[in-house]
């Protein structure tokens, strides 16, 4: 991987980590923000619900005040408050997310509406009551007026009657009684009016009913009294007035009934609609609030949990990002610095080696120059030796020729000998043959002797069998046996002698063979000698040629020696250049080291001192010429020239190498030195 790529990779990793951590944080933040928004929402809802509850309470308070003070403004305020409560709850419901809470809100709003309706009804009834009360009061006033009129009339009547005191005594009591009755009626009616007040002041329904009963009783008492008053009344006007009073009283009574009804309706509305509505409204509002609070708690807990999770995530991601980042940094830095360090080490080594190599080159050039001098001296000796060799070779050739001739002669003689030997062998073989035949015959004789022996034995047996008669036969048989034995003996002797003769002839044959073999060997040797001698002659010829070639070669070597000296000087200067290059390379390496790290500077060894400058002063001032040419004719250029070219080529190599690869190890100094040592030898 390239260096730039590694660095980019390192930075890229860092950016990736940052992105990962940032993303995690962003996501966590988002979640948290959402939670907070939800909470804020819930808080808003709670506020509104609280407001609704508060407003409901205000409404309740207002309506209660209205009930107490009968001031319309209270009722208005209450209704306004209730309506506002509904609005608030509506708004809260719109913000709500929980179905349960929404249902509770709906319930509350329905309750509030019911309450508002109850309130309205109550308010209307109150108005009716007020108006009914007014009418009643008017009616009551009318009744009072009428009764007052009656009383006034009765007073007037009494006045009138009192004036006529001489007419009669009976009617005055009735008149007075009637007048008193009128007064009583007034009292009763006043009682009724008191009851009316008490009725209106009554708090509990039971009290109200009790007061109502009293009231009605008072009115009925007034009616009764007025009725009694009218019966038996003489005064028509009074009667009229009583009738009017009764009428208006009846009117009043009906108004009282109306008033009572309205009051009862009011009570009903208050008890059966308003109060329950109010209570249920409060209950609903509170339940909504509780529900909302519960939801808030829940949301809070969720938010906390999420926050915890988010923070944990961020922690984990952050820590792992840090660790991974550190590891990656270490790995990448290592992977960058290690190869660089390696390269530095290699370069330093190379520079050192180049410096040492240049030293070697200069010393090599010096030894080369020395060698050249020695070479020149050697050449002189060589040429004189060659002279001697040439004359010796000539002699060798002549001698070889002579030897050749002699060898041919010997060969011929050997050939004759072999022929004689052959003949001798033949003769001996013939002797052997005749001995064999003789031997065969002897064998036959032996056989005959044996059979004769057997016959003699058989004869002896028959003779023994014949007994006395066969004695003469036995003697004969005995003689025959003797004869057989003698002949067998003779045959044996002859066989023996023949064996000996065979042995001797065999010997002779063997010896002849031996001699023949020896002669063959002689012939072979002679042949070989002839070959060798001819080879010697040819070799001498070649030798002479070779000597000529060597002469030419020596002349060339002389030339080359001079060239070598020149090359030695060139290579010395080249080695100087080489060491200078090595120095500059070391400087560059030092720069690289400084760039990689200051501590590494110690690793680079101090630059070697400049290699000794060998100025190869050639002492080859004398010209190297060969004194005399050898006698042998110079032939064409042989292998020697190849060698020379190689040597020349080698001398020039160091320069090229220095120019091309400063600091590389490809200087074949070792092989160069080998060539020089060859030269010196």
């Amino acid at each position: 991987m390239k260096l730039g790529t590694r660095i980019v990779l390192g930075f890229g990793l860092v950016i990736v980590f940052l992105l990962v951590v940032g993303l995690t944080g962003y996501l966590s933040m988002n979640g948290t923000v959402r939670q907070m928004q939800a909470i804020a929402n819930q808080v808003e809802i709670a506020k509104k619900v609280n407001n609704a509850v508060t407003l409901s309470q205000e409404g309740q308070a207002g309506s209660l005040r209205f009930i107490i003070y009968q001031d319309d403004s209270y009722m208005e305020a209450s209704q306004q408050a209730n309506n506002d409560a509904i609005k608030e709850m509506e708004e809260a419901k719109n913000l709500m997310k929980s179905e349960e809470n929404r249902r509770s809100a709906d319930g509350m709003m329905t309750g509030a509406s019911a309450y508002i309706a109850a309130n309205t009804e109550y308010a209307n009834l109150a108005k009716d009551r007020v108006s009914a009360g007014q009418v009643r009061v008017e009616a009551s006033a009318k009744v009072q007026d009428n009764i007052k009129k009656l009383i006034a009339r009765r007073e007037q009547f009494l006045q009138e009657r009192s004036q006529d005191s001489d007419k009669g005594k009976m009617t005055e009591y009735d008149a007075v009684q009637k007048t008193l009755m009128a007064q009583q009626a007034m009292d009763a009616f006043n009682q009724a009016r008191i009851c009316a007040q008490k009725y209106q002041l009554a708090i509990t329904p039971e009290q109200q009913d009790a007061m109502a009963k009293d009231w009605v009783d008072s009115i009925q008492a007034t009616q009764r009294i007025l009725g009694q008053c009218r019966s038996g009344m003489n005064d028509t006007t009074s009667k009229e007035y009583v009738g009017e009073s009764l009428q208006t009283l009846a009117d009043y009574l009906s108004q009282v009934e109306v008033f009572r009804k309205i009051n009862r309706d009011e009570r009903d509305v208050q008890l059966k609609k308003q109060k329950p509505a109010a209570e249920s409204l409060m209950a609903d509002a509170k339940s909504v609030r509780d529900g909302v609070y519960a939801f808030i708690d829940k949301t809070n807990k969720e938010a906390d949990a999420q926050v915890a999770v988010a923070s944990l995530m961020i922690n984990i991601v952050g820590i792992s990002a840090v660790i991974t980042g550190i590891l990656a940094a270490i790995v990448i830095t290592r992977s960058i610095t290690k190869p660089i360090n390696r390269i530095i080490a290699g370069l330093t080594e190379g520079a050192e080696q180049v410096a040492s190599a240049s030293g070697q080159v200069s010393s090599a050039s010096q030894s080369l120059a020395e060698g050249a001098t020695e070479q020149a001296a050697g050449l002189e000796e060589t040429s004189s030796s060659l002279e001697e060799m040439s004359s010796m070779t000539k002699q060798n050739a002549d001698n070889a020729q002579q030897a050749n001739t002699l060898a041919v002669e010997a060969k011929t003689a050997a050939g004759t000998g072999t022929d004689a030997m052959g003949r001798m062998s033949q003769a001996i073989q013939e002797i052997q043959k005749s001995s064999d035949e003789t031997s065969k015959i002897i064998k036959v004789i032996d056989e005959i002797a044996f059979q004769t022996n057997l016959l003699a034995l058989n004869a002896a047996v028959e003779a023994a069998r014949a007994g006395e008669a066969g004695k003469g036969f036995a003697v004969v048989a005995e003689e025959v046996r003797n004869l057989a034995m003698r002949s067998a003996e003779a045959a044996k002797n002859t066989a023996r002698m023949i064996e000996e003769s065979v042995k001797n002839s065999k010997n002779g044959v063997d010896i002849a063979n031996e001699v023949s073999k020896v002669l063959d060997e002689i012939v072979q040797s002679i042949g070989k000698t002839t070959d060798l001698v001819s080879e010697i002659a040819a070799a001498s010829q070649e030798q002479a040629q070779g000597i000529d070639q060597v002469n030419t070669a020596v002349a060339q070597m002389d030339k080359v020696t001079q060239q070598n000296a020149a090359s030695a000087e060139e290579s010395a200067s080249a080695s100087e250049e080489l060491s200078a290059q090595a120095e500059s390379m070391q400087e560059i390496v030092g720069q690289l080291v400084a760039m990689v790290g200051g501590a590494d500077a110690h690793k680079v060894r101090s630059t070697q001192s400049k290699p000794e400058r060998h100025h190869v002063h050639l002492k080859l001032e004398h010209k190297l010429h060969l004194a005399e040419k050898p006698k042998a004719k110079p032939c064409g250029l042989g292998k020697s020239d190849e060698v020379l070219h190689k040597i020349t080529g080698h001398s020039e190599t160091p320069q090229h190498v220095v120019a091309a690869k400063a600091g590389s190890k490809a200087i074949p100094l070792d092989s160069h030195e080998d060539d020089l040592s060859k030269f010196n030898n």
Binding site: E447, F450, Q451, N453, L454, L457, N458, A460, V461, A464, R465
Partner: protein, 136 residues
Amino acid sequence: MEILKVREIIGYMDITAVPQTPAYVEGVINLRGQVIPVMDLRAKFGMEAAEVTGETCIIVVEIVHGTRKLSTGIIVDRVREVLDIRAEAIEEPPAFDAGVNTDFILGMGKVGDSVKILLDIDKVLVQEDMAVVPHR
């Protein structure tokens, strides 16, 4: 052996081997029209077999076995001579170990300084199981 038992002495001739015969029975020969069984005395006595040389002969003996006359040939290495041995010069065979069978020795004949074993050819040719019992 007694000379009278010897019918003839002939040189070695080809023997026709007969299968299913004991080892010492070499085979049969045709002697002037007569078929005669031949046995190897060496094998019979349990000695090593010897090569057939130029001197090997077959001695044709005639023995009386019961009422019959049997002609049998025996292979010998060499026939040296016919000797006259006087009855006084014949001794009884000496006693070796108890396990040694000396039935076939007719006697020991003194001839000059040496002693010749005289075979009782009847016993030699008739004792079938002689080759089986190891001698020596």
